[in-house]
């Protein structure tokens, strides 16, 4: 009986935690919306603010689930492989996850990434703001980012987005991202 009561309590507690965190799991930003500004600690040790790129560079935000997950490493490495192409198109890549800054720093150094990873820990505000917060039993306490990409132009407007639902096992190719940047560049 006591065990059952404990089970009920645990289920209730987990639901409450999910509801509390999930309350902020808003709809993802739409194309054409202004990208909300943020300032987050980065793997380079400095704070990175989105608006610092306004009027200068396009920004590709890559939300990823977790440091040290092989698929996330493969995704970030895919962007690293084509980093020069992004640079040529005046695009700054920013990886974002809900991991601790220390863990991110180790991950970025191990992968030798030429672009910074930003830590949305512990508030998860940016991930929630962009509508990419995912909850599952393992990470219910903190929540992780769904794999998603937001391409932001030099005016700070979202020009394209890719929301990869259930993207834990997906290595998203770089080509569609580059193609979208090229199209935007051609129009401008």
């Amino acid at each position: 009986m006591a065990f059952k009561r404990m089970q009920c309590f645990l289920v209730f507690a987990m639901c409450s935690i999910n509801a509390l965190i999930g309350g902020g799991a808003a709809m993802a930003l739409e194309v054409g919306e202004r990208a909300p500004d943020f300032s987050l600690p980065s793997s380079t040790g400095e704070k990175v603010t989105l608006s610092q790129f306004r009027g200068k560079q396009r920004v590709l935000l890559e939300f990823y689930g977790s440091d040290f997950a092989p698929v996330c490493g493969a995704n970030l490495s895919a962007r690293k492989a084509d980093y020069n192409k992004f640079q040529a198109l005046n695009v700054q890549i920013l990886g974002i996850s809900t991991n601790h800054p220390f863990s991110q720093k180790m991950f970025a150094e191990s992968l030798q990434l030429p672009y910074p990873l930003l830590s949305d820990f512990p508030d998860l505000k940016v991930t929630r703001l962009y509508g990419g917060l995912s909850l599952n039993a393992t990470y219910a306490r903190f929540g992780i980012a769904e794999r998603a990409f937001f391409l932001i132009d030099t005016d700070g407007v979202v020009r394209q987005r890719w929301l990869i639902k259930g993207g834990e096992e997906v290595i998203f190719p770089t080509e569609p991202l580059l193609k979208a940047v090229q199209e935007i560049a051609a129009k401008q």
């Binding site: 220390f102 863990s103 720093k105």
Partner: protein, 342 residues
């Protein structure tokens, strides 16, 4: 002390007063430094930063075991401790640079597995505590003075890997009674594997098996050796435990292609298609290491923390691979295995 120094300074000349203030500042900094040093890591107001150093491609089973062990001891991840894995993707020569980077990043504890990362961490720091989750031959390798009193800044869990090497070969031979020529392929930079090769040679003679120990200079060299398994009449491959030159994975791919059975140290590779493994449970080693990390977090000097021994030995067999290779396993094998992969 500082107040009395300042009082004394009121009757001194300007130069003396400046000297005294400098001395007071130095004394203050020293006291603060000592206080910080003597505050156990577990009682600081930020999470303990644990830098896990390895030549792998991310968290090893030991890292996962450490994390779970710390959680079971009541520590909260991201609040009480954070583990950051600094991996070098098969490049053993990059370990020293990575270890130095960990030191400059201000980690509180370094977790290492295997001798290469332990040696690199030891070279990088004599101050930061190092915990190894896989010590094969630590006294001989100069990593510790003795098991009971390591003596330096490194302690850890010994996994009997070297001792189990001959047994691994014997188990392999028992699984495959026709086993005559076994290749042991390792990296030329892997000092520990060279020691292991000698122990395996002795065991091979006793078991009536020819052991071909080959030190690969680079990945291309390793690929060339693995491309000629049939031509060299190799009927079994023993994998090294260190992932230098990506050898465990290269062996896994080559043996799958050529249909030659492979024996590993860890069940990790059996889950990925290797025929069998015999060795310490790496997850358990990491789990045990959590207790040592806990002691360090409470202020115990690693020099005084005895090295523990993981006696949790696993024999894992992949039945699907056995079927693919057309092997009929002896009853002794099925009886002795701890775990089967279907």
């Amino acid at each position: 002390m500082i107040a009395s120094t300042l009082r004394a300074a009121s009757g001194a000349t300007a130069v003396e007063r400046r000297t005294l203030s400098k001395l007071s500042l130095a004394a203050l900094l020293l006291v603060c430094g000592l206080l910080i040093c003597e505050t156990p890591l577990a009682k600081r107001d930020r999470p303990v930063l644990i830098g896990a150093l390895n030549a792998s491609w991310g968290p090893t089973p030991q890292v996962v075991g450490l994390r779970d062990g710390l959680r079971e001891l009541g520590y909260l991840e991201n609040e009480d401790f954070v583990i950051g894995v600094r991996f070098t993707q098969g490049d053993v020569s990059a370990l020293l640079g990575a270890a130095r980077q960990l030191v400059s990043d201000g980690v509180d504890i370094i977790l290492v597995d295997h001798e290469d990362s332990a040696q690199a961490a030891r070279q990088a720091t004599e101050r930061i505590p190092i915990v190894s989750s896989a010590l094969g031959d630590p006294v001989e390798q100069g990593l510790i003075q003795s098991f009971s009193r390591p003596g330096g800044n490194l302690t850890g869990v010994a996994d009997l890997h070297l001792e189990l090497g001959p047994k691994r070969l014997e188990v392999f031979r028992n699984m495959l009674p026709r086993l005559k020529r076994v290749l042991f392929l390792y990296s030329a930079t892997d000092r520990y594997a060279a020691t292991e090769a000698k122990a395996l040679q002795q065991a091979a003679r006793r078991l009536g098996v020819a052991l071909i120990a080959r030190a690969a200079q680079n990945e291309a060299d390793a690929q060339a050796v693995l491309a000629t398994l049939h031509a060299s009449k190799i009927d079994g491959v023993l994998a090294p435990r260190c992932c230098a030159l990506n050898l465990p994975d290269l062996i896994q791919q080559a043996t799958s292609r050529s249909g030659v059975p492979a024996m590993y140290e860890s069940g990790f590779w059996v889950d990925r298609g290797a025929l069998a493994s015999y060795g310490s449970d790496l997850y358990a080693s990491g789990h045990m290491a959590a207790r040592l990390v806990d002691k360090i977090m409470h202020g115990t000097d690693p020099a005084e923390i005895p090295v523990e021994v993981n006696r949790d030995v696993e024999f894992v067999v992949n039945l699907k691979t056995a079927r693919t290779l057309g092997l009929v396993l002896a009853p002794e094998t099925t009886y002795r295995a701890n775990r089967f992969v279907q």
